[in-house]
């Protein structure tokens, strides 16, 4: 069973603010899923190499040259930057990261 403290810690890591009610539900749901997942420990995996992908492709390099598929112009700029909730000209605005010394 995951503790209340752990749930709040995970929510912080996940950058999600959760209400007290959500906290209760998540505690129950995550605990039951983790309990189900525990059955993996029945399997002895000593000496087994993990499999991260299945195609067998390795080092898929391509030439480092411009492909011209995406040309930055006003219209693409508008499509990309235009969707930012806070912006100024062609820049995205974010809240300050550091506090100013007074």
């Amino acid at each position: 069973m995951i503790s209340d403290k752990e749930i709040r810690h995970i929510a912080g890591l996940a950058r999600i603010k959760i209400t007290e009610k959500e906290e209760k539900g998540l505690k129950k749901d995550l605990s039951s899923i983790l309990e189900y997942i525990d059955k993996l420990n029945e399997v002895d995996t000593t000496g087994v190499e993990p499999l991260y992908q299945t195609t067998g492709l390795a080092d898929s390099f391509r030439k480092d040259e411009p492909r011209g598929e995406f040309k930055m112009d006003e219209s693409l700029n508008e499509k990309l930057i235009g969707q930012a909730p806070h912006k100024e000209n062609r820049f995205i605005k974010v809240k300050s990261v550091f506090e100013r010394k007074k």
Binding site: I16, E22, D29, L30, Y36, H86
Partner: protein, 492 residues
């Protein structure tokens, strides 16, 4: 549309137009590309309220082949109206991924599959509903309401590509694209009585697909028959410089060998699929599903296949491994949704951290929150070896099981889903019981191999469609499609 023979009319009432019907109709001058598009648009406008299969619909855009001189060859999907799952980008249109957090997000480019479909002449009717970020097996997790199964509107269409499967089943599109991370094409196809194909990992580019779990996601077709699935796969497959997991090489004509008989082909039946212990009451393989699957296996035997008993000993661990791998990868993929560059941004946030915390809290629904947090937990300091690494080792064992089996057999068959379409709300209160409906589809994604769900008749008790799953070797979609096609003809 002009004259139709009686046989044609009956066929249209049952499941509407196939790709071949569109091709023939166009060639004979029964309709123009615009007319057939409008026919479907009108139908959607009338019937979508009931089903909620589409989240948005488009106006007709003139097609290249219409403008070109008639000397040019008509492309293979000319004028074929398609539905696109709303996690695949179409330039200049809204793409929600079924989430509030992307409610107003406008795609800045075409996904590679969209570019390819445009080239082959297909037209786009609209975007279809899905579980939020493709997380779910019932389409109940969409922020825009549940999609209803057209065969019984009190039941779910399956998911996560539930809107796409429902649209094809209700003939609100000739075909649709879905995405499949753990069964999201095959399971809804099974529950709606249509064909759904998950190609081999690396066969179809995911550039422009909103990622769920990058080591598993694959785009594929949902169609009315196997022939159409072969055509659409041919149109969307191939290497893409924008997705380094796609393999180089020529894409075969998947329709070419469909007619070849399957005498002597070795068909594996994994014993674990028929006795899968889930540890939960009432969650096993339903009798009526088992019965239909057995009937299909007999049909394959009649067609000259050799039926071989096989074992996939680690498949019972697939779902548990999957529910580590997917949340881990999803928590990384969905980190980009932070209220800064696009998507929902909390208005009241005072600091940068608050912007992240509140935008994500307001924008994500319950299931993404659950999975992101599960992923964050499994990847957090001290837990990596116990969860993610362990799961990837189990994944290797699952892949080995399939590799071993494919030394003895050419395809593997079994059920797509343990049950027929279930009632809306039936599994909504317990996420784990819903996860279990993907028990037969998940191992295939973990192994990265292709599989198709073919409707194999209706269950005796429910009179609802049952899906038969045909699984193949990596990049051997040709054999999967050929077996499916031959079985489809035999079941008619």
């Amino acid at each position: 549309m002009h004259m139709h023979k009686i046989g044609d009319i009956i066929k249209l009432m049952i499941n509407g137009y196939t790709i071949k019907d569109i091709k023939d109709g166009l060639a004979k001058g029964h309709f123009t590309a615009e007319e057939i598009f409008k026919k479907y648009s009108d139908k959607i406008r009338k019937e979508n309220k009931k089903l909620n299969a589409y989240l948005s619909v488009f106006e007709y855009q003139k097609q290249k082949f219409e403008i070109q001189n008639s000397k040019f060859e008509i492309p293979p999907l000319a004028a074929v109206p398609a539905a696109i799952k709303d996690n695949i980008l179409i330039d200049g249109t809204v793409c929600t991924a079924g989430s509030k957090i992307l409610k107003n997000y406008i795609s800045a480019y075409d996904a590679t599959v969209i570019k390819k479909l445009r080239k082959t002449g297909a037209t786009f009717l609209g975007k279809t509903n899905l579980d939020e970020f493709a997380m779910g097996s019932s389409t109940e997790n969409s922020a825009y309401g549940v999609t209803k199964n057209p065969l019984d509107i009190t039941r779910v269409p399956g998911g996560s590509s539930g809107g796409s499967a429902a649209a094809v089943a209700a003939d609100l599109a000739v075909f649709a694209l879905g995405s499949d991370t753990g069964g999201s094409i095959r399971q809804p196809a099974s529950l709606c009585g249509v064909v759904g194909l998950k190609p081999t990992y690396g066969r179809v580019s995911r550039h422009g697909l909103i990622a769920l779990a990058s080591s598993l996601d694959q785009i594929g077709p949902i169609t009315k028959n196997v022939y159409d699935a072969a055509l659409v796969l041919g149109a969307i497959a191939g290497h893409d410089i924008f997705d380094s997991t796609t393999v180089p090489g020529v894409v075969p004509d998947y329709t070419e060998n469909l007619n070849k008989d399957i005498k002597g082909l070795r068909v594996g039946v994994p014993k674990e699929f028929f006795a899968m212990p889930t540890g939960r009451q009432g969650e096993g393989l339903e009798d009526e599903v088992n019965q239909k699957v057995q009937e299909s296996i007999s049909k394959l035997k009649n067609l000259g296949c050799e039926i071989v008993d096989i074992s996939l000993p680690h498949s019972k661990y697939a779902l548990a491994a999957y529910y580590i791998i997917v949340p881990c990868e999803a928590s990384a993929n969905l980190a980009r949704l932070d209220g800064i560059r696009y998507g929902h941004s909390a208005k009241e946030a005072k600091t940068l951290l608050d912007t992240y915390l509140e935008s994500r809290s307001e924008g994500f629904g319950a299931e993404p929150k659950r999975r992101i947090m599960l992923g964050a937990y499994a990847l957090s300091s001290g837990y990596y070896d116990a969860y993610y690494l362990k799961a990837q080792k189990i994944r290797a064992l699952i892949k080995n099981d399939f590799d071993d089996a494919f030394k003895k057999v050419d395809v593997i068959v079994g059920p797509t889903s343990p049950s027929v379409a279930f009632k809306i709300g039936e599994k909504a209160s317990d996420p784990l019981s819903l996860y279990l409906s993907d028990i037969y589809t998940v191992p295939i994604n973990l192994a990265g191999i292709p599989a198709l769900s073919l409707p194999c008749g209706n269950g005796k008790a429910s009179n609802l469609p049952v899906g038969f799953q045909i699984i193949g070797r990596p990049f051997d979609e040709e054999t999967v499609l050929r077996v499916s096609y031959q079985l489809e003809q035999a079941l008619k």
